[in-house]
C-alpha cells in the first residue's frame, strides 16, 4: 500500500492545466506582419496566426516555430512571446541571432513581412503569470522577452499590482525594447554603462536587488536568461530571504 507514506515533494500548485480535452496542438501557418530590430543581434517578428480557436497566451508562454526546407527537412525552436495577450491571433516573438545556429540566422536574413512560417502553441505552464500577484522580474539579455510580455500585460491592465523589472545587459546597445520601460524598471550594465550612470559596471548584486525586493512584498520572482545569469540571480534571491519555492526560472541559450 502507498497509504501512510510521506507526501511527495512539490514545487507548488499547478498554475495552468492543459485543456481538459488533452487535444493536440496543431502546427498553424503564421504570416509575418512586422519585423523590428531590437538590437544589432535581435529582431522581433509580429505574426498573424491563421487558424480557428487560436488560444490566447498567458504572459511567459512560448510558441514553437518550424521551418521546412525545399527537401522537406524541418527544424523547430521555441521562442518566448514578448507581446501582451491579445485575442490570440497575433503574437510577437523576439529572436536573437545565434551565428552558428540553423534557425535564427535564417529568420533574420530570409524572413520578412509577408513570409509564412509554421507555429505551434502557446505552451508552458510554469513560467507564466496571470497578472494578479506581486512580481519581481529579472532578465538577462534576451531573457527579458517573456518578462516583457508580463510587463506589457501589467501596463495594459493599469498596473494593478506591485511589479519590478530588472534587466541586465552587457552594454546599453544590447537592451531590448528600449524606450518602452517605466519607473518600474532598472537596467544594469555588466561591461559598459551609459555616460552618467551612477552604478559601477558589473554583475547583479544584492545592493541592486534589495530595494526591488522591498518594493514587492510577497512577490514571486521570475528569472530568465543564460544559465550563468539565472543561477547567479536565483541564488542571490534565496540568499536575500526569498523562499526557493517563490522563484521560477527559465533558462535560455547554450549551456
Amino acid at each position: 500500500m502507498t497509504d501512510g507514506l510521506p507526501a511527495l515533494p512539490t514545487l507548488g500548485p499547478v498554475t495552468r492545466r492543459v485543456p481538459p480535452s488533452g487535444a493536440r496542438r496543431l502546427w498553424l501557418p503564421a504570416v509575418v506582419t512586422q519585423v523590428r530590430d531590437e538590437t544589432a543581434r535581435a529582431k522581433t517578428f509580429r505574426l498573424a496566426i491563421r487558424g480557428e480557436n487560436v488560444d490566447r497566451h498567458l504572459p511567459g508562454q512560448h510558441y514553437d516555430v518550424r521551418l521546412t526546407a525545399p527537401d522537406g527537412s524541418t527544424a523547430q525552436r521555441s521562442y518566448s512571446i514578448a507581446s501582451a495577450p491579445g485575442d490570440g491571433s497575433e503574437v510577437e516573438l523576439s529572436v536573437e541571432r545565434i551565428d552558428d545556429g540553423e534557425v535564427s540566422p535564417y529568420l533574420h536574413e530570409e524572413i520578412g513581412v509577408g513570409d509564412e512560417v509554421e507555429v505551434r502553441g502557446p505552451f508552458g505552464g510554469w513560467f507564466v503569470w496571470r497578472g494578479d500577484t506581486p512580481v519581481l522580474l529579472l532578465g538577462g539579455g534576451s531573457g527579458v522577452a517573456p518578462l516583457m510580455a508580463m510587463r506589457r500585460y501589467w501596463h495594459t491592465q493599469g498596473e494593478p499590482v506591485p511589479l519590478r523589472l530588472l534587466v541586465s545587459v552587457r552594454r546599453p546597445e544590447d537592451l531590448y525594447y528600449r524606450g518602452e520601460y517605466g519607473p518600474e524598471t532598472t537596467v544594469i550594465h555588466t561591461r559598459r554603462a551609459p555616460d552618467g550612470d551612477g552604478r559601477p559596471v558589473g554583475r547583479l548584486t544584492a545592493a541592486d536587488m534589495e530595494p526591488l525586493l522591498a518594493a514587492v512584498p510577497g512577490a514571486t520572482a521570475y528569472v530568465c536568461g543564460s544559465a550563468g545569469f539565472t543561477e547567479h540571480a536565483s541564488q542571490l534571491l534565496v540568499t536575500l530571504g526569498l523562499p526557493a519555492a517563490d522563484v521560477r526560472i527559465e533558462r535560455f541559450g547554450p549551456g
Binding site: 515533494p9 514545487l11 507548488g12 492543459v18 510554469w126 549551456g255
Partner: protein, 199 residues
C-alpha cells in the same frame, strides 16, 4: 540576395529523432527551479511505495552497489540532442531489486531533492532502461546538470531524467509529474515526437 534556403545541406543524422538537432559538444542547462544545496554528503536516494521494503541509500551505500555505464544519445524536448555521450552510476534495476517490487506496481514518480517530480511507467525504467548516474564522460556529474546524482532515462525526453534525484515511489497508477501537469506529454518518447500533451 538570393534566398539560400534553410538547412545546412547535410544528410540528416539517423540518430536524430524527428524535429531534433545535434547540439555538438555543448550541453545546454535547463532548469525550472533554484538549484539545491546538494552534495555527496547530504544526498540520498529512496525507493518506496509498492515495494517489499522501502530503502534509502546514502552516497557511500549507493556506491557499494554494482556500477553500470551507458553510452548513447540524449534528447531534450526543446529540440537539442546530444549524440554519443556516456554516463555511469547504478542501474535502477539494482535499486529496485534491493527493495523488492510488488506485483501491483505499474508506475513510478521520480522526485528530486528540489521538489521536482516526473512520472514514468515502470516498464520504461526496468530491464536496463534507466540509471542513477553520478559521472558524465568519466568526471563527476556537474551540479548544473543534476549532480551529485540524477536519473537517466535516455529513451525518453530528458525532462524525465530528473536532476538531483531523491527517490522513486512505486504506484499502481500513473500520477502526472511537474511538467506533465503543465502541458507536456505523459510519456515523452522522442521517436514519436511526444513533446506536448496530446501529441
Amino acid at each position: 540576395m538570393a534566398r539560400t534556403g534553410f538547412g545546412r545541406g547535410q544528410l540528416p543524422d539517423p540518430r536524430l529523432p524527428p524535429g531534433q538537432y545535434d547540439t555538438g559538444s555543448s550541453w545546454p542547462v535547463l532548469t525550472a527551479e533554484v538549484s539545491p544545496k546538494l552534495t555527496a554528503d547530504n544526498w540520498s536516494f529512496r525507493v518506496d511505495g509498492l515495494v517489499q521494503q522501502a530503502k534509502t541509500w546514502d552516497w557511500p551505500a549507493a556506491h557499494r552497489l554494482e556500477s553500470s555505464t551507458w553510452s548513447g544519445d540524449i534528447h531534450c524536448v526543446t529540440s537539442w540532442s546530444k549524440l554519443g555521450t556516456g554516463f555511469s552510476g547504478v542501474s535502477v534495476d539494482t535499486f529496485l531489486a534491493e527493495a523488492g517490487v510488488l506485483p501491483e506496481a505499474t508506475h513510478v514518480v521520480a522526485w528530486s531533492h528540489t521538489g521536482y517530480t516526473t512520472n514514468l511507467p515502470l516498464a520504461e525504467i526496468t530491464g536496463g532502461r534507466a540509471w542513477v548516474v553520478w559521472q558524465h564522460e568519466g568526471k563527476p556529474l556537474p551540479h548544473e546538470h543534476g549532480g551529485p546524482a540524477r536519473l537517466l532515462v535516455p529513451n525518453l525526453y530528458f525532462w524525465k531524467s530528473a536532476k538531483w534525484i531523491g527517490g522513486l515511489r512505486l504506484l499502481d497508477h500513473d500520477e502526472p509529474g511537474f511538467w506533465e501537469q503543465r502541458g507536456y506529454h505523459e510519456l515523452g518518447d522522442p521517436w514519436l515526437e511526444q513533446r506536448y500533451s496530446g501529441d
